[in-house]
Amino acid sequence: MEKSLNWREFVITRAVKASGYSAIVFVLLIFFFLMREGLPAIGEVSAGNLFSIRWYPIEDYFGILPLITGSIIVTIGATLIAVPFGIGTAVYISEIAPRWMREVLKPLVELLGGLPSVVLGFLGILIVSPNLRILLDLPTGLTAFTGSLLLGGIAVPTVVSVAEDALDAVPRSYREGAWALGATPWQTIWRVTLPAAKSGVLTAVMLGVGRAIGETMTVMMVTGNAPVLATKLGSLFAPVRTMTATIAAEMGEVANGSVHYHTLFLIGIILFLISLTVNVLASSVVFRTKKRAERILS
């Protein structure tokens, strides 16, 4: 009895440990399979072609620059919307809202995070883009701006939840200290609470940006899918095409192992590396400040 119990305990402990390490294995597997399918593109497509401004795979033009600028312009637009509204909402929920309001708002923001992006894209096509077209007097409503607007909405829940956690983590005594010195609650929020939560808020912004770069379906449905180099501000109100949308739109139609197929995987590698960088940076900000806080306490 005693012995079998120990043996079971041993097996379970090992299984649990292996599950814990599986996360590392999956990241490596993802990296490996992207590399395996994507790296051949570097040999098959000349650098001049790859970094040109023309993406037209049917005639072997594989210039990824328009796709990169497309992703950048949509993401910047989304960030400009998601950051102020996300942080504003987080401040409202954490510092201003009465308790019952908080209980209503938090699940609602969570709900937005759970809304399928294809539903937002669907409404984007039917409601947002026709109205924007009329409102801004554009030839088409399917533009980078439409994408930014919806993408901003998709990135907001990420920004809100991370920023709100950061604000919650600021000790109450900081606020009480500021009030005792005669600061208004508003001054306290701006000059004490937000600066104290700075690193967490920064993490929130970065994760929001990461979310926006990686979003696929909404962007594919509402940005018009034109691989045109976006160089000026006006491009915001013209159709563009992002890296994610290109993969999603074209992968279904290419032959496995073709140059086009490898190039789409290469774009996947770029996206993977971007998200890796964003997330490593975001988490290192968290780690660093945690260490500093520990130093102060010790």
Binding site: T13, V16, G20, G121, W186, T216, S275
Partner: protein, 287 residues
């Protein structure tokens, strides 16, 4: 004007509060609006035939049964792989792992998994499950892809739930002669169950609504019958909505709104269940 405001910090306070409140409302009202709008517009499309029939006339008529069933299959498939693995990983991180370099690496890996774009998961699933392991475009390949995508959500929410169980519970159990695993299974897991369930449902909710990861791993444009085995491709609600709102010309708008509504109800139901479990557990908790 600015000077006046600067002198009167209480009006700055009022103005600032008003502005922040307005921003929060501008963020939240469209969410409620979106949901109500689809409920309103899609409601009239819902009928017994719509829910239980097959699409016909190039999907411009009939029902969406294969898409509903497909999404159910994919969600269940995702749960089969990601729930045990995710909870076990959470148990490791919360109960066994010491704070060393490897543990930090695991956490970094989880954060990265959470940040990888969904379409990149699709590429990975295509490379590993569809082509290398030769599962083909199938429910199995799509479920496995969705599982790995869901894993970080399940791990981090479950770990949080496990960690919130007070240390004294473990100490008492161990001191009564229980082994570590017995303590985890009968005490810690039991207490953390509502939190874990909430995380699992929220994770599966995301998986059910995803399109990009199943685009090249398991989704079918149209199927005349229901999938017969895990190696069959399947229709799915999110992909179907994408197809009928972008790929099919002259699609009746009623069917589009109806499909959006069914998908929304699917996702909302899971969301509400998760929220209810969480708030009830919080109310009942005595520690």
């Amino acid at each position: 004007m600015m000077k006046l405001l600067a002198r009167n910090r209480h009006s700055v306070q009022r103005l600032g509060y008003g502005l922040i409140t307005l921003m929060a409302m501008v963020t939240v009202v469209p969410i409620v609006g979106t949901v109500l709008f689809i409920l309103f517009k899609g409601g009239s499309a819902i009928s017994w035939e719509f829910l239980t029939g097959f699409p016909h006339d190039g999907m411009r008529a009939g029902g969406i049964l294969p898409a509903i069933v497909g999404t159910l299959y994919l969600t269940i498939g995702t749960a089969i792989f990601s729930v045990p693995l995710g909870i076990a990983a959470a148990i490791y991180l919360s109960e066994y792992a010491s704070d060393n370099r490897w543990t930090r690496l695991i956490r970094l890996a989880i954060i990265n998994l959470a940040g990888i774009p969904s379409v990149v998961y699709g590429l990975f699933g295509l490379g590993l499950f569809v082509l290398f392991l030769q599962f083909g475009t199938s429910i199995l390949a799509a479920s496995l892809t969705l599982s790995i995508m869901t894993l970080p959500v399940i791990i981090s929410t479950s770990e949080e739930a496990l960690r919130s169980v007070p240390q004294s519970f473990r100490t008492v159990s161990i001191s009564l002669g229980a082994t570590r695993w017995q303590t985890i299974r009968r005490i810690v897991l039991k207490e953390a169950l509502p939190g874990i369930l909430t995380g699992v449902i929220l994770g599966l909710e995301r998986a059910a609504g995803e399109t990009a990861p199943i685009l090249f791993t398991g989704a079918a444009f149209f199927l005349p019958r229901l999938p017969q085995s895990p190696f069959d491709a399947t229709m799915a609600l999110p992909y179907h909505l994408f197809v009928i709102s972008t790929q099919v010309p002259e699609m009746p708008i009623q069917i589009q709104y109806g499909t959006a509504l069914v998908l929304l109800i699917f996702v909302l139901t899971m969301n509400v269940i998760a929220t209810v479990i969480r708030s009830r557990a919080r109310a009942k908790r005595q520690w």
